[in-house]
Amino acid sequence: MKISRIGVGIVALAAATSLVLSGCAGGTSGGGNSEIVSTNGSEPQNPLIPTNTNETGGGKIIDSIFAGLVYYDAAGAPVNEVAESITTDDNQTYTIKLQSGWKFTNGEDVTADSFVNAWQYGALLSNAQLNSYFFDVIEGFSYDEDSELTGLTVVDPLTFTVKLSSPQSDFPLRLGYTAFFPLPQAFFDDPVAFGENPVGNGPYKLAAEGAWQHDVAIDLVTNPDYKGGRKPANGGLKIVFYATEDAAYADLLSDNVDVIDGIPSSALATYKTDLGDRAVDQAAAIFQSFTIPESLEHFSGEEGDLRRQAISMAINRTEITDVIFEGTREPARDFTSPVIDGWSADLPGSEVLDFNAEQAKKLWAEADAIAPWTGSFQIAYNADGGHQAWVDAVTNSIKNTLGIDASGAPYATFKELRTAVTDRTITTAFRTGWQADYPALANFLEPIYQTNAGANDGDYSNPEVDALFQKGNEATSLADANKAFQDAQVILLKELPAVPLWYGAVSGGYSTLVQNVQFGWNSVPLYYQITKAAK
């Protein structure tokens, strides 16, 4: 959903001529832990309420000012934060015990009620929270009417139980996601005021009332009462909202901003030279694909499977990632991401993701024998998201290999594309992508390929796949669960409900003033670790 408006070559040209800022002078001792680290962000699209924040601009802030039951370490493994323990015997009823002594920054205690009330609020239909679907596994949830989550029971002030409507082996993994954060009573007294000046229990807190300067920046300072594992090594965090990645990058080059998690396309070719050791290039939990809906002519049944496989094999992913993305993307080998536990590069059938012109032509001819091809093949994309270059490259690759007419179909905005996809009026293939909310294979698969799932934009349905998903959810060990989700992917590789393209990567960098910069599994820098030398 990141929007890059202006893709211009001029900076690349100018930057290529010179500009090599030397690396950190080294030995910056005495890095005070009171310095404020600054970073890039974007204006939150919604009020700052955990259950209503589903995009990265607001998510970065919410994750900094709230502490959930668990947090994710750099590798994506959950670590208890407010939780003392999370236990279950059957993957369906979980007992959650909290540590004592946690407080919100307004002085209220963090209790079992803080979690239960927040989840009840988030799930209730009439509260219209964008993250409400995260609670749909809890008993009592309803999409159609206001309904209490009967599965939540407070046992004592520091203990509560969660009963799910069906077993979910990865439920504890989800609990570090924004939607599951606790809320103080102050929120329920005045949700509107809270959305503007949220009160949390995380490593940081808002510097003052009105610290959120809309469209400009938000100022956070450390929370002295925070007692979890994300204790800040700096004095605070200033998240500056940039209109373009170019502006943020210019600021990084002049040490006006400390850490950025995006490099403008105009500087992708040069940023590693510009920044040296301070450049960051890391795989991300982002999966890019395009979806050919079942409803398209020539794309149903056996003919559809053959044509999807042919198209997939007609795309030269290696060349496109090298040329268009300067090697910052990695060709996809499955439907998830290499940063997730359980990812595998060589699932049976993954050769359908290799460029193979001969095989592609052969499969296409077999499909033509069933029904001759007519018309042209198009991939729809939103023109405000910087997708044109790769869509053109992919469709050219298909056109040249299969000898059919193929092209991109631009929609002016993300909004228009999503509307056409959602109300199923779209008559072409379209770009799809998924950024994981929590680090589990299931999060890349169930929401998209399960029958009638929320993001199943291509209306894919296969009872075998559904059964394997369920098997994974009921598994008692992570290894068993991962096995089931891998087996499901073997089927997906045959039927290609989405054609995998490549994994996203985070390209970023940091200034000469900071050290200990590490990016988390979700591509957001672990701000609490960063130390900054006094200027």
Binding site: R5, E43, E55, Y143, K415
Partner: protein
Amino acid sequence: MLGYTIRRILQAIPVFFGTTLLIYFMVFAMPGDPIVALFGDHGVNEAVAEQLRVRYHLDQPFIVQYLIYIGGVFQGDFGTSFSGQPVSEILATTFPVTIRLALLSLLIEMVFGISIGLISGLRKGKLFDASALVVSLILLSLPIFVIAFVAQFVIALKLGWARATVSGGAPWEELILPAFVLATVSVAYIIRLTRASVIETGQQDFVRTAYSKGLSRRRVIGVHILRNSLIPVVTFLAVDFGVLLVGATVTEGIFNVPGVGRTLYQAIIRGEGPTVVSFVTVMVLIYLVVNLVVDLLYAALDPRIRYGK
């Protein structure tokens, strides 16, 4: 004069209703559902989406939506953005920034444009005139984002004379670089405009009369030639002020100026009707006021123009 002014202000009322209705209709007719976009790549939760449509009145027919909006405006309520911020507050924080940027640009345009144009006009065909012509043609032919990127790279990053982007409060000194960038193209126009106008005025009878009655060259140029040459320039500056208020999107993006252009662009992309309409309405009002002031200025500049009966 007073009667003329009042008549012009009364004329602004239908213009106000006409533009808000038109803009509201255009936002309404924009393809795509903003509520669907709120859910991102995730599936749309239809029940939740329905609740949100009711909250933002998006379930109502167009004319009802418009009347709700206009009714709110008359009570000082311009609606709220999706992030829960009152639009009136957004207007109050972004317009001062853009107005300051625009004023700074106008100042730069006037100082450089009029002085260079005047000298060029008086020394028609000489070396100064020729070089001014070349420079202004170059400036006119460069797209603004090229000028902006080069200025940012050379002046801010290489030379370190300015900050690469504008920080939160948008202090005057940080706006100087973007203001120069914004002014470049218009400076070129004003040079051409002033030059042509000065040459034309210089051939007028009253200039010859002024010289022949023995007035000093300085006085003839200052009072008779320059003053009478400024009418087309003032018209251009007024139009340009409006353009600067609405058209600075690219420059504001590159220098990260928290102003109108950037905010309006975001609002259009997100389909936030109330924000877009309120911004455009305020722009229209500013345009109307500026044009009125310009028309009144004509009278002050050229004694031959008189309003009233």
